[in-house]
């Protein structure tokens, strides 16, 4: 038995060597990409060079984008991002759905071509179906039609939707959806208005 294990040793060393090699190659590629990004861009208005810097979530999602996300990495990303979620300080989740509809329709904000003094939009319709009257909706994200009508408004449901809007990576690592609250794209009030768009029975989403 002991001999068997010894005989397997060179094979295991080879496997380990190959794995380590891939790690090194991946790291080398990352350095190459980061250096090329730094050399290939220049600041323009509000789009400053620090926007090229990646946080840990972005680094890990980039590293594993072409393959399957290992479960330990997925766990790490969800833990990091769950820790950022702040419920609304006054405990009120629902704002004004009309404000929410405007935020969902607005695609500007944070681009070098945008006015930084104006509030950013959420651009929800770029990826999601929401109200029935808006037929120009994208399909990168799932349909959110009848969102509140289907789910109800229990405290757990509201808290889960708030968490999704606040930081999409808390429960879906490397989601395509921006982390609207955590990254400061939308304010608490804007997030509340979007919550109302999703949950208010009078909202066109639920009509």
């Amino acid at each position: 038995m002991r001999n068997m294990n010894l005989r397997k040793l060179p094979f295991l060393a080879l496997v380990l060597g190959v794995l380590l090699h891939f790690e090194v190659v991946a790291d080398g590629m990352r350095d190459t990409v980061v250096a090329a990004m730094e050399a290939s861009f220049e600041a323009k208005k509000q789009a400053t060079m620090d926007r090229l810097d990646q946080d840990e979530t972005q680094t890990l999602c980039t590293q594993h984008a072409a393959g399957i996300l290992p479960s330990a990495v997925a766990e790490r990303i969800m833990t990091l991002n769950r820790a950022t979620i702040r419920p609304p300080p006054d405990g009120q989740y629902l704002g004004d759905w009309k404000g929410g509809e405007l935020i969902a329709q607005t695609g500007t904000g944070f681009q070098s071509s945008d006015d930084p003094t104006k509030p950013a939009g959420g651009n929800c319709y770029a990826c999601h179906e929401l109200s029935g009257s808006e037929i120009a909706f994208g399909t990168i994200g799932p349909s959110l039609r009848y969102y509140g009508k289907v789910r109800g408004t229990s405290p757990t449901t509201l808290a889960a939707a708030w968490a999704k809007l606040y930081n999409s990576n808390a429960h879906m690592p490397c989601s395509n959806m921006p982390r609207f609250g955590h990254r400061g794209i939308l304010t608490d009030q804007q997030l509340k208005d979007l919550m109302a768009l999703l949950f208010d029975p009078a909202s066109p989403v639920n009509q």
């Binding site: 861009f41 090229l52 999602c61 944070f110 990168i140």
Partner: protein, 269 residues
């Protein structure tokens, strides 16, 4: 009774499907209609004609035409050149796309000032871009040619690998990368169909139809313009013209589009 209800439900469902299909294709249809209105006329031709003049007329401090400009197939040869770009160039010791190659020719051969050229790299109304016009002329000379880009040179392979790496690079306040919008097929932003640029079908569809006359801007836009505008929407800083990343991504897309037939300059939304 039940069957009548079933029938009505079926009809309603069919009506819904038709409406949805109409909504999905209305933008594409509107552009097709707009194209048809021109008949065989394509506004890009205005850029092509001006580009041909710029190519054949002696200009710059050295007062020479661009007959000595080698786009990869030999000095002065434009036919089919774009379908094999980007490529490795011995004289500049660089991998270059068409636009950066043109900058080399205009500065080295004609003695024009690079900074001045780049100031008007993208046309804006009355202020037309010579680089966009030259690009339109040269790309049009590859219509009907099959995309065939070589990555045999190590530097060309490195450019492709860099483009591949950049494609997945997530950054900025919104966590966007190229893959966010172009990593899957069959998706849309609003009504705009998004090609999956990792696959031959999507890459060919996108690459062979650019540059294009952009209806919404009244300008002819090149691949360099297209890429820097993607990064603007990604909320990243300004992509530099002819930079390593611009050329790497172009190499990645051009190679993925291998086998596609060039149709550009096209009319785009």
């Amino acid at each position: 009774m039940k069957s009548i209800y079933g029938c009505i439900r079926g009809l309603l469902l069919a009506a819904c499907c038709v409406t949805l299909a109409w909504a999905q294709s209305s933008t594409e249809e509107a552009i097709a209609e707009y194209r048809a209105m021109f008949g065989d006329e394509n506004p890009a031709e205005l850029w092509q004609i001006r580009g041909e003049e710029l190519w054949t007329t002696p200009r710059g401090p050295k007062n020479v035409a661009l007959a000595g400009c080698d786009l990869g197939l030999g000095a002065g040869i434009v036919t089919g050149a774009y379908a094999q770009l980007p490529r490795w160039f011995e004289d500049t010791q660089r991998v270059q796309d068409l636009e950066s190659r043109l900058v080399s020719c205009l500065t080295d051969l004609q003695g024009l000032d690079e900074a001045e050229l780049l100031k008007s790299r993208f046309g804006d109304g009355a202020k037309k871009s010579d680089l966009e016009a030259l690009t339109a002329y040269i790309v049009a000379a590859s219509r009907g040619h099959t995309m065939s880009v070589s990555i045999a040179h190590p530097a060309a392979q490195a450019a492709y690998d860099l483009g591949h790496g950049v494609f997945y690079y997530r950054a900025g306040p919104h966590d966007f990368s190229c893959a966010t919008c172009h990593g899957e097929s069959g998706k849309r932003i609003r009504l705009q169909v998004l090609p999956k640029l990792l696959d031959p079908v999507g890459a060919r569809y996108a690459y062979t139809s650019w540059p294009g006359y952009r209806v919404s801007q009244g300008e002819l836009r090149t691949m360099e313009w297209r890429l820097q505008d993607c990064f603007r929407q990604q909320r990243l800083p300004q992509l530099r013209y002819g930079s390593e990343v611009a050329i790497g991504l172009t190499m990645f897309l051009a190679k993925n589009a291998e086998g596609g037939i060039m149709t550009a300059p096209n009319i785009t939304r």
